[in-house]
Symmetry: C2
Subunit: 457 residues, 2 copies
């Protein structure tokens, strides 16, 4: 252990250098214009794995490539899978970035760049931990597999297909994922729940071309008004989604879990102040943590209609569209939401308006059993690294592929996030704490040490 | 008269050539990027007036220049003012144009280009009519003034200031404007009413930056949802604007006027089919023509929020905005609408959302007295040119400066439109009928002949 820690400290400047190099690749998976950059990021990961002594495969898919590697099987010992994603969200709105999104810039303890915390910096901690183990000279006490994808921000379709077709090859006992947050700086957390997601785009068409709002205004239904009316009916003033059947399968928050949430040292005032808000808003009857972690939501992610340039244009637009998402909790399914949403929208679509609802992607939520031996191992590793016992939390975000892989590979999941709540993921000025980066590498090594003593279940 | 008509027919090919050259100038007034092009259009008009024998002034203003010219005063005879505008609407959405907006293209009887009907082609008919009169060798029987502006599509602020400061110089008895439509091909109309307008942009801000919709979704008010909710409350399902006080000063449609509208040969089915619609929609209790001409409206002209690129982005946007307009009828005022709208929006603005309402531009509506001798003169000129008596109609559009000039200069207004309802003004594939262009020149000359016999009032 000692010499592994010495290795990490001596190599740390290079780990940071590699990390920053990785951040320079604009691997935006949702935008077809960045296809080559996502490929370059995959190649970068494969090259890194080769340098640490593995023989990675670059797996071509229908869309973005996957990177897969494994160490030799160890009899009677468990197999651990590390998952991460090298694709990133689009950096828009660009004008709100203090420094360019693909020019990693260190300010204080943080490196600012798109993908810093989501998920390049986080998954690299495990890769560098594996490097440290391999370079220690000791034989690996269990098998490590690693799978990294380039479509996490846009539906994870390719890895889903790859996992489905390779359940034998990918078989593992525990799936380790760092793509979430700590409870706060220095306060580790084990995340035992994730929300699912269902993403759609709604397209409305009124007249067959844009009209003069003076000559025609008042006599035809304006699709932008129709969009406002339809979207506004999806959620009421008490924050309740109004789609019939939406809450039918929702697993309620138990009294015990509600108490656990309430016991967490969460400062609501500070939380909203950090967002520049005087008040929060959400589903009536639930606390802010319950609303964020354990209740389903409706959000509009984008609105587009008519003239968006400078000045005014007196147009009655022909079309209006909205990108919308629902966060789901166990046991809601994206299919149910799609079906119920479409029926509801068709019902409330105003006269003279044609609608088309496009399903974009979806996944169910996840709840990890807390009696898993891997949860025990992680609890010890985190306590040792941060000198503080981890809290058990849920996360409002979705890692769609994790619920899927957990089920397909019958693996327990360890969600060990190194990010902070204010890391601005999916937003301008995304950052990652370099302290977290360093601690993450150490915590990963300590987790491996804990697992080293375990028998294959 | 005979030799004037011969002159028009022999010069007509050049009139068309000049017109098309004019259409090539992208004089988009609302977009600061096109400032020089608006100036070039002003210069083009000034050059044309010089060629026909006038001494035009190019008047510099705070924004876009004006062009003014006049013929010598004629004792005891009236003074007629021709008004037009050489600026155009933005051509967006560009991908819906069959041929480029600033490459005039003739298909059938029409020339397609931005500004063809609104208003370059229409006002040129009067300029060429004046040319024909001047070239006839006969002395002009009354004084003609001409004023052309470059801000009609963006508030007419500069001409408003110029008119206010030069009421003596611009004094006239009749204001002739061709910036509206005929009742149909071959069916002339005298438009005796215009709607006013009040244009605004509403900006909403929620959290101080874009947030991850998973981590934060459900706990803060999404400004795009707030925008949908607020906009949807501005108008009900019966097409009634819900702003308190909005209808207070509206001049109702008289029984006689309602009957006149009903007597017009307006084919509602054909009208909606031409727009690709199975049904219209508007204020309950009013016909389609009443809704378009004589009732106030609310329209959304543009919606902007969050991610608008390809694919999805799971963002909870920080901001959302809408461009909105109200069409007004006599005696509504933009000031009243602004005051009432802002109070209403403030009242319905949801918790945690900051709003800012920006007034963009506005003007009241217009109703022309039908007993004016100039209306008589126009009726005769149109009957003679089109071999069909004109119908008396209102127009749903706004020519804000006309109501203003009419009041300031105490002039009767003649709204003699040569456009067609399907000319796609403010929309892709704007066009103007070349038959209308030719007839417009002849009708203008005939109108001048009618006015020639009149005494100064």
């Amino acid at each position: 252990m000692k010499n592994i820690e010495t290795y990490i400290e001596s190599e740390y400047p290079r780990f940071e250098k590699d990390f920053f190099e990785f951040l320079r690749i604009p691997s935006i998976s949702t935008d077809p214009a960045y296809k080559e950059e996502v490929k370059a990021a995959a190649q970068w990961v494969a090259d890194l794995l080769t340098r640490i002594g593995l023989k990675p495969e670059l797996v071509a898919t229908q869309r973005h490539p996957l990177v897969y590697a494994e160490t030799p099987k160890v009899p009677d010992a468990p197999t651990v899978m590390i998952y991460g994603h090298f694709d990133v969200q689009p950096p828009d709105p660009l004008d709100q970035w203090k420094t360019p999104p693909f020019e990693p810039t260190v300010r204080g303890d943080n490196v600012f760049a798109r993908g810093a915390t989501d998920d390049k910096g986080q998954f690299l901690t495990h890769v560098f931990a594996v490097e440290a183990l391999l370079k220690s000279g000791e034989p690996l006490p269990f098998q490590i597999k690693m799978i990294f994808e380039g479509e996490e921000e846009d539906g994870s379709e390719s890895i889903e297909a790859f996992v489905s077709e390779n359940t034998g090859k990918l078989a593992c006992d525990c799936l380790i994922v760092s793509d979430s947050t700590m409870f706060g700086p220095g306060k580790p957390a084990i995340t035992y729940g994730l929300r699912g997601i269902a993403a759609f785009e709604l397209f409305l068409t009124g007249p067959n071309h844009d009209l003069h709002s003076g000559i025609f205004g008042g006599s035809v239904y304006n699709p932008a008004i129709a969009l406002s009316k339809m979207l506004s009916q999806l959620i009421d003033e008490k924050g309740r989604v109004q789609i019939p059947g939406f809450y039918d399968k929702v697993v309620p928050i138990s009294e015990r879990e509600g108490q656990q949430f309430a016991d967490l040292p969460f400062d609501e005032k500070e939380f909203f102040e950090g967002l520049g808000l005087v008040t929060g808003f959400g589903e009536e009857g639930y606390t802010t943590l319950e609303r964020r972690w354990a209740r389903p939501t409706f959000d509009i992610n984008g609105l587009t209609s008519g003239y968006q340039g400078d000045g005014s244009k007196t147009v009655l637009p022909s079309t209006a569209s909205a990108k919308i998402t629902f966060r789901l909790v166990p046991n809601q399914t994206p299919d149910d939401v799609y079906k119920n949403l479409e029926a509801f929208l068709q019902k409330i679509c105003p006269p003279g308006i044609k609608m088309r609802l496009q399903f974009q992607h979806g996944s169910g939520g996840l709840l990890v059993p807390l009696d898993s031996p891997y949860v025990d191992a992680a609890e010890k590793a985190l306590q040792e690294t941060f000198a503080c016992p981890p809290v058990f939390v849920r996360d409002g975000g979705s890692i769609p592929i994790i619920a899927f892989m957990s089920e397909k590979l019958k693996a327990d999941v360890l969600l060990l996030g190194w990010g902070y709540d204010d890391d601005n993921l999916h937003a301008p000025n995304e950052k990652f704490s370099l302290t977290s980066f360093r601690h993450g590498i150490h915590a990963s090594v300590r987790l491996f040490r804990q697992i080293a003593g375990m028998k294959k279940p």
